[in-house]
Amino acid sequence: MKKVIASALCVVMATAMFAGCSKDSSKSDSKTINLWAFTDEIPGMADKYKELHPDFAYDFNVTVVATDNGGYQSAIDNALQAGGKDAPDIYAAEAAFVLKYTQGDMAQFAAAYEDLGIDVAGKTKEAEIAPYTIDIGTRPSDGKVVGLGYQATGGAMIYRASIAEDVFGTSDPAEISEIVGGGSGSWDKFFDAAAELRAKGYGIVSGDGDIWHSVENSASYGWVKDGKLQIAPEREAFLELSKELMDNDYHNDTQDWQEGWFADMNGTGSKGIFCFFGPAWLINYTMGENGPDTAGDWRVGVAPVGFFWGGTWVLASKYAAEADDAKKAAIADFISWITLDSSETGLQYLWANGLMNDAGTKDCVASGKVMAISDGSCDFLGGQNMFEYFVPANANASGARLTQYDETINNLFRDQVRQYTSGQKTKEQALDDFKSAVAEATGLEIA
């Protein structure tokens, strides 16, 4: 037993040393910038930045915490509140929770871009940054920009050319957009097309989640108004849209981000699926990865109801603004390189043209100036230049309907919609349960 005690003590000592040592190593480093993110995306940019700027005097101390179970938000909230040398200097926030950090409860910990020495007004104008990116990144308490995104996430309809040929006799983007009522702001023609597709044994979308982002973003107002829950008529109508898709067997009834959804991208679902709705990132990061068998068969057209979906914003913390001038300048340089640099060496140009990785993944970016000089043709779309459709689609993006409760409320809403469409509840009951669940989860009053 002595051995056990001895080894126990050894372990404790070793751990203490372990912990002690590593503390020392990071203490002396004022030459590091703490960078927090929820994927490897921004850390990858940091590597690229250092590669392009060999004289950059700082090292990035990268922290990546997954968004699983709200882990990222818990960790970063605690770290921001605690401050000190480990506090994040630069951090990322995703569209689902960005408002919490730019306008909501955590906005007090963000630094205004201009306080870092960035000429926000001038540069956003010069780079023609998409206005919604700025809106979402602007802190209401002082009207200053605290975060900007590098992507533009306006959404389009991404459809299968072969199915279009088979059913509508054409795969031309302009004609197909016309057939589904692209840009009409109404779902009527879309459902007519769905009936035609069904007659030939196809589904129009994979699941009701595919049209949800359109519905969510085209609502006349967001979930919350004056501290009360409001259900916009467009969102309430989603119950019926979803039910119609279900009852007429217009889809494969999949849920987004689950196996069945991915299978439909690859054309291996129970029936062929005509289209998906999404921004440029959905094509390259999700559909491209999951649809090797259908690559080249996709085209981009105009969605019936405009929308935007997702995006990542970059913020600096108030601790960054309190740092010495040299560090502050370094942080400012890096952030502007990501969010505001519209030159051909800026991140956004590299990002849009697929120069960031070997796979050549292209994406839409926030700067209109960069988009104008970029080429969005990709093999997955049979060589089509996707920017032709995504650039106008970006005009649909707006931060006006976002609230900091969206993630929670959307999940509750879609859960109840599924109850209704699967016939387990009446519409009234589903709405009532939705309201009381929201009241429980958010503390909001029910209007």
Partner: protein
Amino acid sequence: MNNKKSVSYTKYGYIFSIPFVLAFLVFQLYPVLYTVVIGFTDLQGVATTEFHFLKNPLENFIKILSTNGAGSFRLSLRNTILLWGLNFVPQISLALLLTAWFTDTRTTIKGQGLFKVLFYMPNIITAASVAILFGALLSYPQGPLNSLIGSFRGDDYKAINFLANKNFTRFIVAFIQFWMWYGNTMVMLIAGVIGISPEIFEAAEIDGANRRQTFFKVTIPCIRTILLYVLVTSMIGGLNMFDIPKLIADGGPDGATGTTALYIYKQAFSGGYMYNKAAAASIIMFVIIMLLSMLLFYILRDKDEEALKKAIKREKKAANARR
């Protein structure tokens, strides 16, 4: 001399308890007190640190206990009890049955060592991995289980969305809990039985007790203390059930697997970040668990020991009176 020494032993009771108490004071006292205090305040919102005590100190508790709709605490308490019952009854039954089989001195089961080792195995996978596996198994519209059923039913089989069905999701959560924990319960029960002297079993056999009698009249009473442990910890674990309901369907569908632990978590870490309600709900759960544990302790109390204690007390009193 003897007397003197026996007096000095008592201090070791205190000394040996110091590490536990210290660790508790350093690491747990603050969080516990914080929770208790917050339960009576208006603390809400992510970055808020300032809070005020409510005019009606029980406001949070009343709010929690008075609502009964979707997503409410009362609904999640009902779910928790249902899910616990669904998994615990089969779990303890199977564990006892296996214990009886494996500790039977009359019929030796060959390979029982291997079985014991295997039965515990589901417990060493993380809940997250278990959730991935079951999610894959049940996936919809195409998935292994659906295609299996489809191969029996023929072509007109319409795939079932298992995890959209409230009762099925409850069943699957309960089944996973059962499957992950019966081995654990069995291992503890067997550890208890191993502690019983073999002589007792020999005596029982000589007295002509059959298998069933031996198990119920000898084994069970001898492992009563371990049984109490199993019951109390299973109850606490069951009422705090979190991982599996969270990972399988995030408490859904329609809140069907929303347990109280999940309720507390969601109140504190999402939506409105209502720490005060989370804290109050924690306190309520603590009280419920404590009451139920006391009940179990009472039911499974050692009557002989209690009688002995009473007798000792009486004697002491009598001795004092004599003095």
